[in-house]
């Protein structure tokens, strides 16, 4: 933890701060996926996870002065849009089927 604290006296922002923020966001998203039982909140937590990954890619792109990370982030945003559209359509279908969006009640594939 010491380098993180020592770097606070500098003027510009080091890479590790951005990575720390991305890690905290990723942890929050993982906790959401693991503990929440509402399918909509689980999907929103997945969006937080994707954003944490995007932040990491952009921080490293800035660190290496290489814009490839921006392209990856662009693709991640496109995939997130596709994922949200299909995921929400699935949630709507499941809600029509058993009047609940609780992920514990989704047991149709369990024998």
């Amino acid at each position: 933890m010491t380098p993180l604290l020592a770097s606070m006296s500098q003027t510009a922002i080091p890479l590790s701060w951005y990575l720390a923020v991305a890690l905290i966001l990723f942890a929050i998203g993982t906790i959401g996926v693991l503990t929440r039982r509402n399918a909509l909140v689980v999907l929103m937590s997945v969006e937080i996870l994707l954003n944490a990954v995007n932040l990491t890619f952009l921080a490293f792109a800035r660190h290496h002065d290489n814009m490839d990370g921006h392209v990856v982030t662009f693709f991640v945003i496109a995939v997130a849009a596709a994922e949200a559209a299909v995921g929400l359509a699935l949630v709507l279908g499941i809600f029509r089927h058993n009047r609940s969006v609780n992920v514990d009640s989704m047991t149709a594939l369990r024998n």
Binding site: M1, T2, P3, L4, S7, T11, A12, I13, P14, L15, S16, Y18, L19, A20, V21, L23, I24, L25, F26, A27, I28, G29, T30, I31, L34, T35, L40, V41, L43, M44, S45, I48, N54, L58, A61, R62, H63, D65, M67, H70, T73, F74, F75, I77, A80, A81, A82, A85, V86, L88, A89, L90, V91, L92, G93, R96, H97, R99, V101, N102
Partner: protein, 170 residues
Amino acid sequence: MLEQILFWLLAGGAILTAAMVVLPPVGRNPLYGALSLILSFFFISGLYVLLVAHVMAVLQVLVYAGAIMVLFIFVIMLLNLSDKELGQSRKTTAQFIGVLAVSAIAVKAIMVVSSATGSKALMAADAGFGTVDGLADLLFRQFLFPFELVSILLLVAVIGAVVLAKRRLT
């Protein structure tokens, strides 16, 4: 110094609003969670601006806060879940252990990352870094094939969403 103040405000705001999505007091109602998530996306796009990723910051607001979250809020309001349908949030020991484990892993990872990357400040970026020009050059030359594949992926997702939402599952 201004950059640091901005970073702390944006990072703190992003983490706080993202936590509000997940934590029960606010996140209990998915609508408040979604509104809080939109705020979080705005804070994160501010962080992108600090990282000289201006195009990505604009796309973040347009696509994430604009398109995706409007879709989320539309579905939440369409379902209009009552308190009964939301159900009691069960607290199990497995969930508690999961939260503890994730927090421990995150703290350890932050320590490892900060000691591995050191406290060296980021260098000044090139002139063309993060501009539409630079991104378009990469997208339409080096990454043209993946770019076209993404358009097919979006087409498949649109068709899939229509098929899934139309069919009666009874």
